[in-house]
Subunit: 438 residues, 2 copies
């Protein structure tokens, strides 16, 4: 686990002025990574690091030879059109890059003259997926979500007996993971209407969001070589926001016995910026596992995981309807919660995924599963907020929503803040529902 | 669908003598593709086409400029270290390559002099995965397997109500798909013993095979753009053998509610050679869908699919135990069946997978699901052959097997044959179980 070091000092200020604003997502203590180019250009995609309202262009910094040693090597790896090579270098390389950038971006840094020409305004940038995602695995780490959604699919049996022993996960679709902002068509699919004798094909009528975090794998493991929980975080590159769009009517009909398939694989949206675990070190928390619950099996259990395996990442879902946009109203908050309520940690996910010898590769993506908190307003999916569509959400201006309608835009936001530590923002994850193909 | 043409003529003979043997897997009517190099060498991996006991080295054929036009372009794409570029060119490119190779490899072909130096003996070759697999999807297309295995997991409810409407599938793990021959460690995992109050971690005690075919996607589709069933086969590159190794004890404990995960993702083995759909054209069959069953929804139904959507591919599973190897005995046949018994066709899989707009990419892999036939001896998994381990298989020499033991080697074989058509072989898919990591 990453210890606090000089890069976390909340007193640090940058010569990039916007990084010093108290509500900045990207202060000098954050330094998240993305792949970008100037919007609408034919420039090569390349890695970048956010600082205030700017991006440190890693390809430019490489050409200008601003950094040397391990940091220089990391900059070179990050200058490519995906971050896979940087991810493959592992946690020490990411740490070296973070330290070098922190020092070079501080007030009074000697490298300012060399680095300032390498900055690109975020307002001029567009983003690609930060990595070529080899495999995408979606977990199910919120016991509150598992209970809420389980109650709708299995009223008599909401939380299955394995839940408190197994960090449940399943494989998702890598090809349809896209970077924010992302517009996608409402999916068609089979569903079985209540009382019907045969299914029908049509546009999903129960299109939903799932508020998740995405976890990018850094250094991988060879097939047959599990990752011990004490080493697990060394294999994690960082965390982004993730919206696992879900068609509940398709899901209800298709998911037995092999799990969700077409109800999920039409679109997944992630935020462009990846926040490293090191940046999140000030926001570690004890794992929120109720006292009466069974202790995890030893391979999933360490004192460090119990005492500081969780992260207090604040999360918010905002809905912007077409009418809100037309009338100039702001979006409406659908939910507010925190990642601290997750039942299984990032380290437990990595270790469980590999206990059988499954090989992870740099750029692989995990979804946390929908991050619903313990109270109704903390639910991360409409299926929970509306009790399966029965109690529509009331929106300002008299609108209601049971599920998403065409033209709806959903914005996920994430941030960490507390007294005595710098604010660490994740930016936004934005997705818009287009009408079904006709 | 590919029509019969001059490349299917059973009278064709090759100047590669071994291709003309009546039991050859790779006669001139087959021409399957793989990625290979000389065994133990540092040569670059490149595409190759099997002919008899030789491989046409596509990189060498490209350098020698043996082919021009569309076939030359296909050879150039196939000369790379994976077949993804050739797959992306689509079915017309594969057809052009097949026709050109068929003509150049025939008795008396003018190109013999140019092509013969491009041949490498199969006995000297080793194989890589034929493609970078972006996503791997495993289907469940044998109603016999679904019923047999469903009876063990859900005795009261073996075949779920969606089965005859939905080509059930789920996402599998791409990173752990490996080319034959493949050795892998017995996986560790959580399982819940009968009567136990808590699960335990340990090596799987119920390690199984799954006899499947693998289907490689050629030209992909853009996100949001479904592939109609009339176009589906144009997006298929070809078919190989696939063993979807499965840990039944891990599966039983983990699979609810999101499907199999660690019970499957430790290892999947595929045969190196991909047989094109065009080569299989003589072996098309009517779809085996019982008269009383519901007709598929229109998006999954065409006369062509009903009348010739299936393929009569003979399949065999052989087990070689360590004792058989020590005593010089041949392996024992565990099962014999045919792909003709599948309930859903290749075209239906492609169309269903994309009906929601999910994007397929060149090199994506589908598994057919375990291809059990209607009778007990046609079951493609030990869990079925032994009724969940209760009736061990009796092997020659007095050995028995409920599930796989350390050192066991499993060989899948596939071939098509009938009077009036050339034999089309798939070669072998070989995997060996190593002891669990200690």
């Amino acid at each position: 686990m990453h210890a606090l070091n000089e890069t976390h000092d909340p007193q640090l200020r940058s010569w990039v002025a916007a990084a010093n604003a108290p509500d900045a997502d990207f202060p000098i203590q954050n330094l998240p990574l993305a792949v970008f180019r100037r919007r609408g250009s034919n420039e090569p995609w390349r890695g970048g690091v956010a600082i205030g309202d700017r991006i440190v262009d890693l390809a430019a910094a490489d050409r200008a030879q601003v950094f040397d040693g391990a940091a220089g090597e990391a900059v070179r790896a990050g200058a490519q059109d995906s971050l896979n090579a940087l991810m493959a270098l592992g946690a020490p390389a990411s740490s070296a890059l973070r330290l070098a950038l922190s020092r070079a971006l501080r007030d009074g840094a000697a490298q300012r003259g060399a680095l300032e020409p390498c900055l690109v305004p975020q307002s001029e940038a567009e983003y690609a997926l930060p990595a070529r995602i080899g495999d995408y695995t979606d977990f199910y780490t919120s016991v509150h979500h598992a209970t809420n959604i389980g109650r709708q699919f299995r009223p008599d049996n909401p939380l299955l007996p394995n839940y408190k022993w197994v960090p449940i996960g399943y494989h998702g679709r890598a090809s349809s993971v896209m970077a924010s902002p992302h517009s996608f068509r409402r999916p068609q699919g089979q569903s079985m209407a209540p009382g019907a004798t045969q299914p029908q094909l049509g546009p999903s009528k129960r299109l939903d969001i799932e508020l998740e975090l995405g976890i990018f794998i850094g250094a991988g493991n060879a097939a047959g070589e599990p990752i011990a929980i004490t080493e697990a975080e060394e294999h994690v590159f960082g965390i982004c926001l993730l919206n696992d769009w879900s068609a509940r009517d398709i899901q209800a009909w298709e998911y037995q016995p092999l799990g969700p398939f077409l109800s999920k694989n039409f679109a997944t949206t992630i935020s462009p910026w990846i926040v490293t675990l090191e940046a999140l070190a000030p926001y570690r928390m004890p794992l929120d596992r109720p006292a009466g619950d069974p202790q995890p099996l030893p391979y999933l259990d360490t004192p460090a995981n119990r005492e500081s395996g969780a992260f207090d990442i604040q999360l918010q879902v905002e809905l912007q309807t077409p009418r809100m946009r037309e009338t100039g109203q702001p979006g409406a908050q659908l939910c507010r919660t925190s990642y601290r309520h997750a039942y299984w940690t990032v380290a437990q996910m990595v270790t469980h995924h590999t206990v059988n010898g499954c090989n992870l590769q740099p750029g692989d993506l995990f979804g946390s599963g929908t991050l619903s908190g313990p109270t109704p307003g903390e639910a991360g999916a409409l299926a929970e907020l509306t009790e399966g569509g029965k109690k529509p959400v009331q929106l300002p201006g008299g609108e209601t929503r049971s599920f998403l309608e065409d033209g709806d835009t959903v914005v996920l936001r994430g941030w960490c803040e507390k007294p005595g530590a710098a604010r660490i923002g994740f930016g936004e994850c934005v997705g818009t529902v287009l009408p079904a193909r006709t």
